[in-house]
Symmetry: C2
Subunit: 369 residues, 2 copies
Amino acid sequence: MSNPRRSAATVLTGALVLAALASSTTASSQELSAVQAPSSPLILRSRGSFLVGGENVTQTPTQLSYFTPQPPPAGTRVTVNQMYVEYMVPMHQRGAPVVMIHGATLTGKSYDTTPDGRMGWYEYFVRRGHPTYVPDQVSRGRSGFDISTYNDVRAGVKPVSALPNFWRFGDELVWTQFRFGPTFGTPFPDEQFPVEAVAELSRQAVPDLNYVLPTPNPNIAATARLATQLNGAVLMGHSQSGTLPLDAALADPTGIRAMVLLEPGGCRSTQFTDTQIAALAKIPILAVFGDHLDAVTGTVVNWQNQFNDCNAFIARVKAAGGVAEMLHPPTLGIRGNSHMIMMDKNNLQIADLILSWIGRNTRAGNQTR
Amino acid sequence: MSNPRRSAATVLTGALVLAALASSTTASSQELSAVQAPSSPLILRSRGSFLVGGENVTQTPTQLSYFTPQPPPAGTRVTVNQMYVEYMVPMHQRGAPVVMIHGATLTGKSYDTTPDGRMGWYEYFVRRGHPTYVPDQVSRGRSGFDISTYNDVRAGVKPVSALPNFWRFGDELVWTQFRFGPTFGTPFPDEQFPVEAVAELSRQAVPDLNYVLPTPNPNIAATARLATQLNGAVLMGHSQSGTLPLDAALADPTGIRAMVLLEPGGCRSTQFTDTQIAALAKIPILAVFGDHLDAVTGTVVNWQNQFNDCNAFIARVKAAGGVAEMLHPPTLGIRGNSHMIMMDKNNLQIADLILSWIGRNTRAGNQTR
C-alpha cells in the first residue's frame, strides 16, 4: 500500500464494489448483456446431459401432493441421490476427458461463464480438445436432494432437531474467505477475481444441503462411476470437493487417469494410511493453490495451513513412488489468484498450466499404472 | 386391445418396464452409455449461462455455518430468487430466440437429452437456427431457493407449521398423470413416451419448492425480463409453467414475440378479464396437447378438462382479434403423445410443427404488434 496510485485505485475499486453490491438489491444492468461472445465458433461432436447413480426408494407417507394436501398412495417411489452431469465433446478430441466438480454452496455453474461474462473452464477445456463433464454434486442443483426427513419433521413424525443444516455463505464471508481482499469491499491491489462482478457470484450461490447426504457421501461412488463410464478421465475437485477425487480413487480407481485438487480444505496428509497413500500414488495428482494464502486473518479456513498440508501430502505420495505436484502460480510470478481461481481474470492462463500438466500426465505410456 | 399381437406386445413392454424400475434400485447399465451422439457436429456462435433477477437480502441470524455451528455476523447478505439460464446460440441464426421453461418437480434438464438418450428440444431448436435459453425455475435446480424460513424453524424461532411444502411426484403417479398408460407399468399400445427409460425420468426429478416463493412468483418477472434482454423471444412453458408466458406477458410484454403453452394445467379461460385478454391478444399464442387426454381416470389433473379450457381461452383471444391456435397432434393423425411431449419418441416431429408455427408467427411484418 506504499504506492499512492495503487492505493487510490484500491479505494476507488472498493467503493465501486460496494455500490455494485448495493445496487444488486434492485434491478441490475448486468446479466445477459455482460456475457461476452467468443471470437471463434465452438464445434461440438456432441453435447447433452445425463444422470449417474441414485436409488429408487419408497416415498415417506408424510410427502404431500402439490394438488391436494394428501399423502401419496402407500409405496410410491422416487429416485434420490442421483448425480446430474452436463457435457460437451469437441469435434476434434486432443486430450483426456475431464470431470469438473464444484465447491460448497455452488453448482456446476462455477466452471461455466464467469461472473463478469468471460469464458469459463468448461468451454475452454472443450476448445482445447478435452471432452468435459460438469456434475452438480448430489444434494445440489439439478441433482436434487432427499426430502424425506424434511417431510417427516413437517408432519410431526420427527422432531425439529432432525432437520439437517441448510446453509449459505454470506457475501461478507465470501470476500475474505475466498481471498478477494483483506476486508469486505476492499480487494487486494493485484486481485485477480473480477470483484466488480462479485454480485454475480452471490447470484450463482445456492443452498448447500450436504448434511442431508448419507454416509458414505454418494458423490464419491457417483464420481468414480462416471470416470469408469468415461473409460478414463481426469477428476478435478474444488474446495469442498477438493479431495473428492482422492476419495473416489480409493473407492474405485478403475476410470481415474489423473486428479486435480483445486484449493481443497486440506489434503488430510496425516490421516491417510500408508496403504491408501500407496493406492493414490498410482494416479498422477496435481494440487493448485492461489495467492494471498496467509494474508487474511480471522477467516474460517486458513489457506496457508491447507497449502502446507497439501505439500505434506504430496511429499508422502512422492515418497511412495507417485507423481504428485503443487501448482502455486506465485512461484511462477503469477500473482493475485483467489480461491475462485476458475473465475479469476487470468483463469485461462491458469487453465493452460493445468492443461499442460494433464497433457504430460495422461499421455499413452506415461501413466504410472 | 382387440389386436392380439399388440396386446401381447403391451404386456411384454409392461413387464420390461417393471423390470427396469426394479433394477433401478441397484446399479443401472444405462446412464452415459445410453446417450446417442448426433450424426453431424453442432456449430455454436456462443454458449454459456447467466443469472436473471434476484434480491440481495440479509441472512437470517438462524443461518448456521458449515464450519462452526455459529450464526453469521449480523447483517451478512445472500442473493435469493435469482433465475439460472443456460443458452446456446447457433452459428447461423435463422429464427427468433426461444426460452424453454420446465414443469413441476423438474429442471431445465427436461428439454435436454431425453431419458432414452436422444436429442432434446434444447439442442434441436439450436440446430434449426434458434438461439435457445433454458432456465431453471426460481426455487429449483441451479436457481436455488430461500432457506430463511427453514433455518428459522430449525432454530425454534418459527413453528414447524411455517415449513413450506417440499414435494415430489411419485413414479406411480407420473405414469398415469403424464399419460404413459392406463395403469402403472402398462403403456398405451401407441405410447410415444420411451417407457423403457422411465427410470431415467425418475432420476431427472428434483424436489419442487414452489411453496417457498413469495407472491407474485419471481419466475414471472424474471421470464419477462429475460425476454426483454433478448430483444424479443418466444416464451415456452410446460405444465406447471404452462401459463407462465401469459403471466409474464401481462407483467411486461416488451420482449415477448410469441408464446407456446405445452399442456398447461388449464388456460384460466374464465378468469382473465377482457382487458387481460385484449393484452394477450397482441402476442401470437400456441397451445399444445398430446393424446389420450381422457383415457386415464382417477388422476389428479384431468387433461381433457384442461384441453377444453385452453380451447375456450383460444376462442376468447381470437374473438379479441388475436392469433391463437391449438396444436393437437391426434387431429393430424399423430397418436400417442404423452404429457412429456418434449421427451416422446416423436419429439422432433412435434418440434417441427411448433417450429413451423413459430416461423410463421415471428416473421418480420407478421407480428400482431
